[in-house]
């Protein structure tokens, strides 16, 4: 067990865990922030996506010892930002979710995309969202919601 100081959603948090513990499980089990989801554990589904140092990152692949002082932002706080709020609103407006389990990760990826590229094309969307799996198949509505959020952010 090692102690780590993490910056999570703007707060300093201290956890004491095995160095190999993925950030995903630190968030879910130590910090009780279960909005970030476990889907595959190999970085193949994107359900665990968080922003690490501003970059959309698969938290299941990042051992806590490699996090360092990079700030972590999760689904629980993404709505505090302008882009995050717009994306969440667009998701609700478009009635995107079905089971909803993958949507934390989808939204984190979409916010990263719109932050970097405020006017994404369909191809940009496919590329940025291409690693986020949704078994309910909400992709058509995700595309529409991203365009909607982009339009709303331009106003």
């Amino acid at each position: 067990m090692t102690s780590y100081q993490l910056s999570v959603n703007g707060e300093r948090r201290e956890v004491s865990v095995d160095a190999s513990t993925p950030l995903l499980w630190v968030l879910r089990e130590e910090l009780k922030m279960t909005g970030t989801k476990y889907g595959c554990g190999i970085g193949a589904c994107g359900a665990c996506t968080v922003h690490l140092g501003g970059v959309a990152t698969r938290s299941c692949l990042v051992p806590v010892e490699l996090v360092g002082d990079r700030p972590i932002v999760t689904i629980e706080a993404i709505g505090q930002g302008r882009v995050g709020r717009a994306v969440q609103d667009a998701w609700v407006e478009q009635d995107v979710v079905q089971c909803g389990y993958c949507q934390s990760g989808q939204i984190m990826s979409a916010v990263a995309l719109l932050t970097a590229n405020p006017v994404p094309t369909d191809i940009n969307i496919e590329q940025s969202m291409g690693g986020n799996l949704c078994r309910c198949g909400t992709y058509v509505r995700i595309r529409a919601a991203i365009h909607r959020a982009a339009a709303q952010l331009r106003t």
Binding site: M1, V17, D18, S20, T21, P22, W25, R28, E29, K32, M33, T34, G35, T36, K37, Y38, G39, C40, G41, I42, A44, C45, A47, I75, E76, G79, Q88, W91, V92, E93, D95, V96, V97, Q98, C99, G100, Y101, C102, Q103, S104, I107, D122, I125, E126, Q127, M129, G130, G131, N132, L133, C134, R135, C136, G137, T138, Y139, V140, R141, I142, R143
Partner: protein, 726 residues
């Protein structure tokens, strides 16, 4: 409007004051007895105090949903139906999932279950009556207060209005008194033309909480003192633990226990720790010697040979319509002989399988995102030596199901119960890793079909001989007695025997080989393969007849197939794009009628660098009353994409020497956004007929539509899934 069953004669409501004030309404249904229960003698009826409706003093109305929310929007649709008849203020509606209890059983089937696209079909009338009776009691209460005739009152948005000026009362104000009223025997339901909510596009109630991370799923459950279990299962289905060396596992700080548990078939080793990550690391460090002697080693290639040999012989007869020998009269030149192969396919719902149980000796509590609470609750009780009613069974929001949370042997809750049994008093959450899920069986079984079709001079099929080969998941289950007849599991042939095509001479038979790989239902069940075979063959017939594929299907339909006819005719009108496709594009058509819902689909397919891509899809649906067109649209968009799973090169589960060859989403790869059409238009046939389900009906049509388009592009009829390149 024809409604399914009149519940009024065998159901009654009971009203009581809520513990915290307000009005609780329970519907007590005299349930049809399920065959397996009948054998065990009459079921004791219990009437738990749980309510379907709770009108709270603050104006909120809590509606209990007797199904699990898997994404299909039942936790919006059922409240809509009830709120419609109640004339409730929709903005004040809260949905809650019911626990396992007799009162929440499907009013038609007699067991609590979410599957078969049955929710709307079977609970439409039930939820309407609940709303209407409650409204009648609220109106009667208000009428009493004002000394006016109830018929002179009207209701809107959770308010009763009397005939006089300023005569109005909110439901919340009336609820305490209404709870003392007698429940009316009969109520008049609204005329559908008066619907204000039903038929309108209503956004899901669970949208916001699923966008900010606050929706709790079963896997997110955190109870005081809870431990987490991960299980090491045998490398072959049916394997048993011979010896286990857990020395390295027990060295890990946080590992609490390691022990052997029984499986439905074989045994396994459970590692229990205070955290998931510790339990998983602990499992990785186990050294287990497995007893695999005499255990079957299924192998995909060998299974295909075995299945193909079986298909050459007549199976148990499922249907023999017309003349069995009619095919002999057709010259070889007017026959098509086709063999189809469809693989094992996993469900892989996004939320990995899990179950949490605490065993307290004389009772237990369970938290499961279950599609089959009646059976899962009984299975947990059996493992723990309890009666089902001593297991408080809480149904959790589930991160997808697609049939995987409905295994007939309740294998996941059983494992969790076996673990909880040893750790008395401690809640234990069993987690299946994604690897456990992909390798764990309970797949859509692999199927081989052999069909021989004789074509008449007019290009229409006159004689059709069909043999299917594949495992039954019903044999050995309580459902066997009424779904397996003459050795035929009708779930495996229904798409052909119950097809709406008028084929005068149709002979269908089935083989159900035993394989050690546990099979399961996959969203839309047998239609995932039967509709594929039927719809690709019919398309081939249309091509041979040089007919338009929609026109050909319309010609082949049974006269009374009015829903499917309407869906196909609408598709013909709304898919005009298929007449103006640029070079390199082709349209593919398919249709199906599933549990009363008719679907017709057109896809636009391109082929570039040997990679095909569905560019757009236009789908029509006839489901009777469209309760919530918005969620029907979502179900169809998503269901088509889910159905694409079995098309992709890595959309199959294969076995080599008894071992599953795929491990995770690297080996079994479902469709991602880039694999799916950017546009899916959904068109609903307007109807006031009784509503039928929309969860499964989109799934069967996508695979044949794509393969039919591919045939038009390449000239090749693909009869094996998955496609080698897609």
């Amino acid at each position: 409007m024809r409604l399914p069953r009149d519940l009024t004669r065998r159901s009654f409501l009971r009203v009581s004051a809520g513990a915290a004030g307000g009005m609780l309404v329970s519907l007590h249904v005299d349930l049809p007895t399920f065959p397996s229960q009948r054998r065990q003698g009459p079921q004791a009826k219990t009437y738990p105090p749980d309510a379907f409706i709770h009108i709270r003093a603050d104006g909120q109305i809590v509606i209990t949903v007797n199904r699990v929310e898997l994404g299909q929007a039942v936790a919006t649709a059922l409240p809509m139906i009830l709120a419609e008849e109640l004339d409730a203020d929709w903005s004040q509606i809260v949905a809650e999932l019911a626990p396992a209890a007799d009162i929440y059983k499907d009013p038609v089937y007699g067991f609590q279950n979410t599957g078969g696209s049955a929710t709307i079909a079977n609970s439409f009338q039930q939820y309407r009556e609940l709303g209407a009776r409650t409204r009648a009691m609220l109106v009667a209460t208000a009428a009493d207060r004002w000394q006016v005739a109830p018929a002179s009152c009207r209701t809107e948005s959770s308010v009763v209005y009397g005939p006089g000026k300023n005569q109005s009362a909110r439901y919340a104000e009336l609820a305490d008194d209404a709870a003392k009223m007698t429940v009316p025997d009969r109520v008049v339901l609204k005329d559908p033309s008066k619907f204000r909510l039903i038929g309108t596009s209503v956004r899901r109630l669970d949208s916001r909480v699923k966008c900010d991370g606050s929706q709790q799923f079963g896997l997110d459950l955190d109870l005081p003192g809870m431990l987490v279990a991960v299980v090491a299962r045998p490398p072959l289905f049916g394997g048993r633990v011979k010896t286990v060396d857990d020395t390295e596992t027990r060295k890990l700080a946080g590992v609490r226990d390691v022990f052997e548990i029984p499986l439905v078939n074989g045994s396994a080793v459970a590692v229990v720790a205070d955290r998931f990550w510790t339990a998983k690391q602990g499992r990785d460090r186990l050294a287990i010697d497995w007893d695999l002697t005499g255990i079957e080693r299924p192998d995909t290639a060998e299974l295909w040979s075995r299945f193909a040999a079986l298909a050459g012989t007549a199976g148990n007869v499922a249907l023999n319509r017309g003349d069995e020998h009619a095919l002999d009269q057709i010259p070889q030149a007017r026959r098509i002989v086709a063999e189809y192969r469809l693989p094992y396919v996993a469900h892989t719902p996004m939320e990995p399988l899990n179950a949490t149980i605490r065993f307290d000796g004389d009772r237990a509590e369970a938290w499961v995102g279950s599609q089959f609470p009646t059976y899962d609750q009984a299975a947990v009780a059996q493992v723990l030596g309890l009666k089902p009613e001593d297991v408080a069974f809480h149904i959790q929001f589930a991160g997808g199901g697609f049939g995987r949370r409905q295994s007939f042997d309740s294998n996941v809750p059983r494992e969790a119960a076996a673990i909880a049994k040893r750790l008395r008093g401690i809640p234990v959450k069993l987690v299946w890793t994604r690897e456990d899920d992909v390798r764990g069986g309970y797949y859509r079984p692999m199927f081989l079909h052999r069909a021989e079709v004789g074509i008449g001079p007019d290009g229409m099929p006159v004689a059709w001989k069909h043999v299917t080969v594949g495992q039954s998941y019903l044999v050995g289950t309580p459902f066997e007695s009424f779904l397996v007849k003459n050795g035929v599991d009708f779930d495996t042939v229904g798409g052909i025997t119950a097809s709406r095509y008028a084929i005068p001479n149709l002979h269908v038979s089935a083989h159900h080989p035993q394989v050690s790989v546990p099979p399961a239902q996959w969203r839309s069940v047998g239609y995932t393969h039967t509709a594929f075979v039927l719809e690709t063959l019919v398309d081939e017939l249309a091509t041979r007849a040089q007919a338009d594929p929609i026109a050909y299907r319309l010609r082949l339909l049974q006269r009374d197939a009015s829903r499917l006819r309407a869906a196909l005719e609408l598709l013909d009108r709304v898919s005009d794009w298929r007449r103006h496709l640029p070079p390199g594009h082709a349209a593919g058509i398919a249709c199906v009628e599933y549990e009363g819902t008719a679907v017709a689909l057109a896809v636009d397919l391109t082929l570039e660098n040997r990679r095909s891509r569905v560019r757009r899809a236009t789908v029509t649906v006839h489901c009777g009353v469209a309760v919530n067109p918005l969620s029907i649209e979502s179900q169809f968009q998503g269901g088509l994409i889910f159905g694409m799973t079995q098309l992709f090169p890595k959309g199959a589960i294969t076995l080599k020497d008894g071992r599953v060859e795929q491990r995770n989403f690297d080996g079994f790869v479902p469709p991602y956004m880039g694999d799916t059409p950017a546009a899916i238009d959904v068109h609903i046939v307007p109807s006031s007929e009784r509503p039928t389900g929309c969860g499964e009906p989109p799934v069967p049509v996508i695979s044949p539509a794509v393969v039919n388009a591919l045939a038009r592009l390449t000239g090749t009829r693909y009869r094996t899934l998955p496609l080698a390149s897609f």
